[in-house]
């Protein structure tokens, strides 16, 4: 029960953060805020992506990091070419699997 309570508290807290600005929304935010908002997406998503890419199993290691960066490059190129998310994702995953398999059989 203690564990469920902990999870419910996190859920309520997360919901409050999701709702805070959305529910109090104004059409015209203050000028400085309005200039910050467009950069939230690229900044936050890159801050999630890059650390996870260079340490896919939790720590930086050549055997993990190099295949991960190659897979990311392939996924990025495939997305630019096709604008198709599943194709790009599975293209990147395929390269990652191939590289992991190659490294494990060396």
């Amino acid at each position: 029960m203690g564990e469920l309570l902990t999870l419910v508290v996190i859920g309520v807290g997360t919901y409050a953060m999701r709702a805070a600005f959305l529910v109090t929304a104004r059409r015209q935010p203050p000028a400085l805020v309005a200039r910050l908002l467009p950069h939230i997406g690229p900044a936050v998503l890159a801050a999630i992506t890059l650390p996870a890419l260079i340490a896919p199993r939790g720590s930086v290691a050549v055997a993990d990091t190099v295949p991960a960066l190659l897979a990311a490059a392939i996924a990025a190129v495939m997305w630019r070419r096709t604008k198709n998310l599943p194709v790009a994702l599975f293209g990147g995953m395929a390269l990652w699997w191939l590289a992991s398999w190659a490294l494990s059989t060396l």
Binding site: E3, A19, A25, R27, H39, P42, L45, I48, L89, W96
Partner: protein
């Protein structure tokens, strides 16, 4: 745009667009969702309790962190604090979408808040930044709710399937890269001009440099630096 923006035809076309976008994102999320569900299912918590993080937290990183910390016997205060810091980016997403949602009724904004997640933000932000602003307020709401409900349902189903498949998925099926690649593919469409590249490059590099900070604070430090650089670049280059 349709000549009858309030008509059923235009609404259907918005919903259709939302459905297509949702399916593409949901398929791209499949490896991540399955892998996360399998990790939740193999924790020391009862599987149903571990899966309950999907409707309660609706965010893979926080779900993983909360369940792993609880499994390891961490104190409730630490678990709550750590998970809320990971999910604090939802504050930023809410702020970014707020001007586009201001015309929605309060009821829909409360529901929309529950559905707000990384891919929902990414799709909505891309659509609302189109030249026509994503259409009328009603069409923006339709798109947002359509995408939000579809991806919420997909997330609950994928993580549920992952929990059921825990121990069945072969460990040789390396899915570690699914989450970072998925987030990379949410990131790429946001890179539309010089300042957004500056925000992303700074955010990523500072987050890596700050990755040693406790409680996953590196993400927020990186995000803050990236937002600052993006804003400065916009000021200079318009």
């Amino acid at each position: 745009m349709s000549t009858t923006p309030w008509g059923a035809g235009a609404a259907l076309s918005v919903l259709g667009r939302g459905a297509r976008d949702s399916v593409a994102v949901a398929v791209a999320y499949l490896p991540f969702g399955l892998a996360l569900g399998a990790t939740l299912g193999s924790s020391h918590l009862p599987p149903l309790l571990a899966w309950s993080t999907s409707p309660l937290l609706v965010g893979g990183a926080a779900q993983l962190l909360a369940v792993q910390l609880l499994s390891a016997g961490a104190s409730g205060v630490v678990v709550v604090l750590a998970a809320l810091i990971v999910n604090a980016r939802m504050l930023l997403y809410g702020a970014a979408l707020a001007p586009h949602a201001a015309a929605w009724s309060a009821r829909w904004r409360w529901l929309g808040a529950y559905l707000l997640a990384d891919p929902v933000y990414a799709l909505a932000a891309a659509r609302f930044s189109m030249p026509d602003g994503g259409g009328s307020a009603r069409h923006r709401l339709l798109y947002y709710l359509g995408v939000g409900v579809a991806l919420w349902t997909a997330w609950l189903a994928m993580t549920g399937a992952g929990v059921l498949l825990a121990g069945v998925l072969p460990t040789s099926l390396h899915l570690e890269l699914a989450a970072p690649l998925t987030f990379l593919l949410l990131l790429l469409p946001t890179l539309t001009h010089r300042a957004s590249y500056g925000a992303a490059v700074t955010g990523g590099i500072v987050a890596v440099a700050a990755s040693g900070l406790p409680l996953g604070l590196g993400l927020l430090v990186g995000a803050g630096a990236g937002i600052a650089v993006g804003t400065i670049l916009t000021g200079r280059h318009g």
